[in-house]
């Protein structure tokens, strides 16, 4: 028994030792907490963040939950606060989930801000936005109407029903349709969780129940492949316009096959870059001007002091024609 226990302890010790990351903390640290790890979108943000860290002379910390679970995300943020990481940005899973840690961060004089997905009333320092929620919601509808017509019937397949940024975009889509395209029918959003399989299933069922469906919008990047695949399998290429908020790399095959008419996104690595840059500004106590071109970026960004929103720029629209110009 003693032997096995020793063995067990040795294994655990080896595990602990193999994961050593302790580094001298002479540089200021900027952390980013995504909604979930292991998806290309946040992976790209991580890469952008690392580039910025190198360029700006800070250390970049990237930690996120394995499931889109707000408590897990909260736990990660709390631990970063305990570590005394100087600036922490969060892609918020759920707008109110930050509340318990905001005070803790303030008490330790840690800059807590949001990026990619906001928690407006949480007391966060600022919000690094890829594009305004309104811009994103409007753009995808405008582009869809261009392709599917002013009287189109359009379905929405989202990811987690609890993700506040996704729900905000859907809200603006609905608003745009109501105000500008009275003849467009926007179906109620359906939720697939994080699974491509469920997304395909739901999209398939949606097309079956609405033979006159002209377009499907995949709101979460996790649902893009599923929606595209469903359109391909249903043989509805050309009849149904697929689209979603997904990166050129994810959408490329579907843009080429015609299952997707277009895809709307920003460059997530730029967003990651801007996030770290903003963190650095916060740590240095600098005020961000209303319009500025951060060091290492090719275009200017805008900052609204009143709302605390640092805007990356307009969302980009990718099509079969321009998709090969991008690699993220």
């Amino acid at each position: 028994m003693l032997k096995t226990r020793t063995l067990l302890l040795a294994v655990a010790a080896a595990l602990a030792a193999s994961t050593t990351f302790a580094a001298a903390q002479d540089k200021a640290r900027v952390a980013f907490v995504p909604q979930i790890v292991g998806i290309p979108y946040f992976d790209a943000m991580q890469q952008g963040g690392e580039q910025a860290a190198k360029k700006l002379g800070v250390e970049f910390v990237y930690q996120g939950p394995v499931d889109t679970n707000p408590v897990d995300q909260l736990q990660i943020v709390q631990n970063l606060i305990n570590q005394g990481v100087e600036a922490i940005s969060v892609s918020v899973l759920d707008a109110s989930s930050l509340a318990p840690v905001v005070e803790a961060a303030k008490a330790k004089d840690i800059k807590l801000f949001t990026s990619d997905s906001d928690a407006p009333d949480s007391g966060r320092a600022l919000y690094v936005a890829q594009a305004s929620d309104q811009g994103l919601g409007y753009t995808i509808i405008d582009e869809m109407v261009k392709r599917a017509g002013e009287d189109a019937k359009i379905g929405i397949v989202s990811g987690e029903a609890t993700a506040s940024n996704l729900n905000a975009w859907i809200g603006y889509m609905q608003e745009r349709v109501k105000e500008k395209y009275p003849n467009v029918t926007l179906l109620d959003p359906q939720f697939a969780g994080g699974s491509a399989e469920r997304a395909a299933q739901i999209a398939g069922d949606m097309m079956a129940s609405n033979p006159d469906l002209k377009g499907i919008i995949a709101v979460a990047s996790t649902t893009c492949p599923g929606v595209a695949q469903a359109i391909e399998t249903a043989g509805k290429i050309g009849a149904v316009v697929g689209t979603g908020y997904c990166s050129p790399n994810t959408a490329r095959a579907y843009l080429k096959s015609g299952a997707f008419g277009y895809s709307v996104l920003w460059d997530p690595s730029e967003l990651g870059y801007l996030t770290v840059w903003a963190g650095k500004q916060l740590i240095d106590g600098k005020t961000i001007p209303a319009e500025t071109t951060p060091e290492g970026m090719s275009h200017p960004v805008t900052y609204d002091d009143k709302t605390g929103i640092l805007l990356l720029g307009d969302p980009a629209v990718f099509t079969a024609d321009n998709v090969d110009d991008f690699n993220f």
């Binding site: 292991g38 394995v66 969780g193 299933q201 129940s209 249903a234």
Partner: protein
Amino acid sequence: MGAIVRQIGERELLLGAACIVALLLFSLISPYFLTATNILTVLRNCNELFLIGLGMTVVLGIGGIDVSVGVVMGLAAIAVGRLLQADAGPLLSGLAGPLAGGVIGLVTASVVVLGRIPAIVATLGLFGVYRAAVFLALGGAWLSGLPTDLTSVLGAPVLGIPVALPVVAIAYLIVFVVIRHTPFGLHVLATGNSEVKARLSGVSVRRVQFTAYVISGICCGLAASFYIATYRNVAMTIGGTLALEAIAAVILGGTSILGGRMSLLGTALGVLLLRILQNGLLLVGVPSLWQPVVTGLLLILVLGTEAGRGRFDAASLTRHLRRPGRQGAAG
């Protein structure tokens, strides 16, 4: 096997009737329900869950359980996807699925059977380990927009039906024949009924259990090939909730979670009923968020109909669940 046929016959009739009632109801409400495309959509959506359910039926048959099957499918899907990316062709890539699944099945079987850990605990642990493996194998990026080789093979229409359906049917037939017409099937049932009695009757219980988990792995692997053909994508969260859904479908089908009683036809009908309901509810305008609620209610209702028939005798169950190692020592 007379009695078993009679017992599951009841359940199969119930499920079959439920399917028909659902079909009728939905087609009354939605004109699009009983269309060829929609029926094909429903059938296609059954593939992965049904294949995994086949393996799960055998595993439950021996009195085991495996909550890691969804992630096993995910791991095998990565193998299939990587081969497709490497231009290995549809045949090789497609076969890599069951092969990879079988290898992972060996690992599961070793931990559960040789490690003598209760199946639910062991596979819960393996679920975590396999998930980490999926993450490592993907390296943080998805497999996305995979080549269509496998898709065009399995999706090619024969007499208006995609090839995938006969392939699934053949898989079903193979498992059915093995279970119904070879000694192994009897040994599965005997093991599931009572490990001790089966051993005393000269059944090599360990080998039967081991084989069952490997079969389940192969089924998951086959499901992976279908998954890749259909979705051409592997995300990190792949298969996370499939295991519980498969268990629900198999139990609905009349297979006993205590082992010793199983119905492959019931599994097929259970999967079909779940998918018909999911599809139909969406078609008649019920938000997809309600789908799990329906699954849960169905489970409770169908199994609740057996209430009071003494199917579940907790006392014998406790005995049944105890590990053989300890039982031997008591005599």
